[in-house]
């Protein structure tokens, strides 16, 4: 296959991934690694590098809007970034010593877990119970809802911090934003309202990914020929997706469809990992 054809296929695939990812809120990175490794037979290290770079692009792009609207809890995000960057650093170091088929296996399992997490019913619960650490660290906040601001308190800061370190590690090993994992920690354990947890998780992805990307860059995982079509495609796809999202409010069918695709890709990755084809 010539580089031109390779670039075109990758660009179209990444565009579709970015489009579906932003339309469904599942992120585009999930499709990039299987697309590269299964379809285009690219080595998984290059795939992980390209996927991580695309996660920085999509998360920074969409975080920009949420930060301006004041939904993102920036203090909470920056505080938890201590945990995710330490995790991402460890993950990127460890990734070097993990053989490719274990990375494929881990990717497959995280993929399944994330698609299940994203399909859950979202209930926007507001926690009003004060906790010592959240108060000391000034983490509690409020978010705009129509004309009013809804205040909320944050629970289990210590436990949340620890689990964020694990989410950062996963991100550093398999090169995804691991947004779904971050949301489940903030939502389930720290009892943060859904609107805030999704946008704050998105806000954190860029910094988390940067901590492992600086290592990937030096280890040669980030190849310009692979990353260029992926990053451009994912960003353009995400822009198209967000324009359509404004027009069609509900996209439940699409979400299930995309989760189904992700599930099939995950099974493929696990199979290839087990049979030693990756």
């Amino acid at each position: 296959m010539t580089i031109l054809i390779f670039t075109l296929i990758l660009f179209l695939g990444a565009y579709a991934a970015g489009f579906l990812g932003s339309l469904t809120g599942l992120g585009g990175g999930f499709v990039i690694i299987p697309l590269l490794t299964i379809l285009l037979h690219v080595d998984i290290h290059y795939a992980v590098g390209a996927s991580l770079v695309s996660a920085i692009a999509t998360s920074s792009g969409s975080a920009a809007a949420y930060v301006k609207e004041g939904i993102t809890n920036m203090r909470l995000g920056i505080f938890l970034e201590i945990a995710t960057t330490i995790g991402a650093f460890i993950g990127a170091l460890v990734a070097v010593y993990i053989s490719a088929h274990y990375i494929a296996l881990l990717f497959g399992f995280i993929l399944i877990a994330s698609s299940i997490i994203s399909l859950r019913k979202k209930e926007n619960h507001i926690n009003t119970k004060k906790s010592y650490l959240a108060d000391k660290l000034k983490l509690d906040g409020e978010y705009p809802d129509g004309d009013t601001h809804i205040p909320y308190k944050i629970a289990n800061v210590g436990g949340g911090f620890f689990l964020m370190m694990l989410a950062g590690m996963v991100s550093g090993i398999i090169g995804i934003g691991s947004g779904a994992l971050k949301v489940v920690v903030m939502d389930g354990l720290m009892r943060i309202p859904f609107k805030v947890s999704t946008t704050t998780s998105n806000f954190m992805i860029g910094v988390t990914a940067a901590a492992s990307a600086v290592i990937y860059l030096q280890r040669g995982y980030i190849d310009p020929g692979v990353c260029m079509p992926v990053v451009i495609g994912v960003v353009l796809g995400a822009i198209t997706g967000s324009k359509i999202l404004v027009k069609t409010q509900s996209s439940n069918l699409l979400k299930w469809l995309f989760a189904g695709i992700i599930f099939l890709l995950a099974v493929q990755m696990i199979y290839r990992g087990l049979s030693g084809q990756i």
Partner: protein, 120 residues
């Protein structure tokens, strides 16, 4: 914090658009020179010498497509780091010492990660 939020939002957006524009420009040059060659990414062998972070800027001057792409990608990776620097300044202005420290700590972890990568 309101003004800071707007600044940070704009910074993130400009960072992403600037870096993918640079990558697209480099991509066109890269494809003009290498488009007809065979894609060889099946086995991992690191990246070409011109795309190594230390050599990127020298090779941009030679209009090497791959190096220009890599510069765009390095700008993209730096975008969230710029965001941290801006928030640190914001916290200093607000006299929020705790969060100035926390933000600098995160910046320190990323710097440490970068330096340890060179050592590895």
């Amino acid at each position: 914090m309101d003004r800071l939020q707007v600044i940070i939002g704009n910074l993130l957006r400009i960072g992403v658009y600037a870096s993918i524009s640079i990558a697209a420009l480099g991509g066109i040059i890269f494809l003009l020179h290498h488009g007809n060659q065979q894609a060889a990414y099946t086995a991992f062998k690191g990246i070409p010498d011109y795309a190594q972070p230390a050599h990127v800027f020298g090779n941009i001057l030679h209009l090497k497509g791959g190096a220009i792409i890599q510069a765009g990608i390095m700008l993209l990776i730096a975008t969230p780091v710029f965001r941290l620097i801006f928030s640190a300044v914001g916290f200093v202005i607000e006299k929020d010492h705790l969060y100035t420290f926390i933000t600098l700590l995160v910046l320190g972890i990323i710097t440490f990660s970068m330096l340890s990568g060179y050592a590895g």
